[in-house]
Symmetry: C2
Subunit: 334 residues, 2 copies
């Protein structure tokens, strides 16, 4: 774990870049709102992926710095929005932007982030490609978030949302959703590093595939930790409280459960108010299935697939670090 912390330190290099761009032309009173999301923590995984992908294909830190800052900022943009959508009050142990500064201010900060991204794109190397990649990635994020909402089983008092709600979610539908919600940004973070180093097509393809697979693995592990995690600093079963069927550990459990168990679990997810007793009941039902091992296996396979796709890249320290990050995603288990 220590080694991974050292690797992720690389991603911290984007912090001053992000802050400098965010504060350009911002009103003095608005700056604390703009800084909060960035200052409240985060591991800078996406920025690290961009910088390492750039280095692993022959680029310098200087080449990758603005693209790395961009994709890290895209992530933080999506987090502010997520917290508005899910009415989140605490993230990474501190108040969310909406909780600390009010919802309208959080919304305006998110909009401001988006304009800042455009300024960054203008200054980034290989600008048109990176700008297009960013735009397509944000569109994917929007669609992923939209589907995640439609996979919820209750909690949005909206006839429109209710009319589209999906009470069954297949593996394919789940993978499509997390592909858009999470993996697209991992993929783009890696690919942007390749663009920044002006890497040849086979290297870009390798980075693309690597980012995609570890991005899927990352979300599978996030789902796992939500249901089975201990000492993660997060409350267990948040997805159950939020009626989210778009969690692979839940989907695995639903397949394994008998009709009665399946019905009971789905009923809990569909309750307008999920009590703590409900969460315990749901977790007990899930623990009685093979969900835990199946979910771990899936994450492991995705990580291994991701690592294998780096074969095309020359052996460098940066490539070894990318491999270590892939392992770290899986090892968040322990």
């Amino acid at each position: 774990m220590k080694a991974v912390d050292r690797i992720l330190d690389l991603g911290r290099k984007v912090d001053p870049v992000i802050m400098e761009f965010l504060e350009r032309n911002a009103d003095r009173d608005f700056i604390p709102v703009l800084r909060h999301q960035i200052e409240s923590g985060g591991k800078r995984v996406r920025a690290t992926l961009t910088l390492l992908s750039c280095a692993a294909t022959g680029g310098s830190v200087k080449d990758g710095l603005i693209p790395a800052a961009m994709f890290e900022l895209v992530h933080n943009y999506s987090l502010i929005i997520d917290d508005i959508i899910d009415r989140g009050e605490v993230r990474r142990g501190v108040e969310t932007v909406r909780k600390k500064f009010s919802e309208p201010m959080a919304l305006l900060a998110a909009m401001f982030y988006r304009e800042t991204l455009d300024e960054m794109a203008e200054e980034a190397h290989s600008s048109p490609e990176i700008r297009r990649l960013m735009r397509e990635t944000i569109k994917e994020l929007i669609e992923g978030e939209r589907r995640d909402i439609l996979f919820e089983q209750a909690g949005r008092e909206s006839p429109y949302v209710e009319s589209l709600r999906m009470s069954d979610v297949s593996f394919r539908e789940y993978l499509e959703m997390i592909g858009k919600k999470t993996a697209a940004l991992f993929k783009a973070s890696c690919l942007a590093g390749g663009y920044a180093s002006k890497a040849p097509r086979p290297f870009l393809d390798a980075l693309n595939e690597f980012g995609w697979k570890i991005g899927l693995a990352f979300q599978v592990m996030d789902d796992y930790l939500d249901i089975f995690g201990e000492k993660t600093g997060k409350e267990r079963g948040k997805d159950i409280r939020e009626h989210k069927l778009g969690n692979i550990a839940l989907l695995h459990a639903l397949i394994d459960l008998d009709d009665e168990g399946r019905k009971a679990l789905k009923e809990i997810l569909s309750k307008t108010q999920v009590t703590e007793m409900d969460v315990v009941s749901a977790l007990t039902l899930i623990e009685g299935t093979d969900s835990r091992s199946k979910t771990i296996e899936l994450a492991k396979k995705l990580v291994e697939d991701g690592k294998a796709s780096l074969k095309a890249l020359p052996e460098t320290d940066a490539k070894a670090d990318l491999m270590a990050i892939a392992d770290f995603i899986y090892e968040r288990l322990y």
Copy 2:
């Protein structure tokens, strides 16, 4: 008025362009959400300004079409956000996006609009200039909206907002706020038309000044109609209900009122719940001052200034139409 309707028909040319861009890569189920804001009406003033500004400086409709669509879409982007911030339920006589499709869907639609704007910018003529103009304009909108919120006297339960709330607003502060909230987009809509026709600097300056002045006039008239308007289809005194001190008719009244009247009016604006009786009392207080005539005079002067700044442009039908739009802004009075 008939003549102005005919002129504004020009702006409707952007509707199919906006729809085509919005529907690119959008999920089928998301399309009704994306279409609603555009289909729910609007006069297409901004698109018309871009197309006329382009024509008045020698460009064709083809040159100006995408820029016109862009600035009209920026406007609609800001309206979706405004309705989220002000919890708006009805706009132009129909349900707002957030009311009809839920707040998360409205938010995602707004984000999608922003990415669509980037796609449009990529295809627009003089792309880098227009993209920069759009970005700077959206940043102005954000700051204008932020200040408008800080000029409210109640209604946001947020220690942060309360700590920055301004209980006195000067004319200068008011003009800065509406400059950002409204006039910046009018200015940009005109300037974009000039960019699209590749107009020389003196023409760009003229369009810039024209857009700025009539944009200010437009907001002054909006404020006027909110307080004094009849048969506008909107409820009178919405700004009073929403605790907004950033309304020139209110500011004019506060200057004219004696200490007692001023105190009474400010107390109403600061009430957590403004009743219909309160609105009537406030309107009566305002009617007893010179606010009505002063506000009209201000709008008239701004419109005249705007028209004067078009002097530099050759006499064309398009210029005459720009003049007619300027007059229309002022004549919304009657």
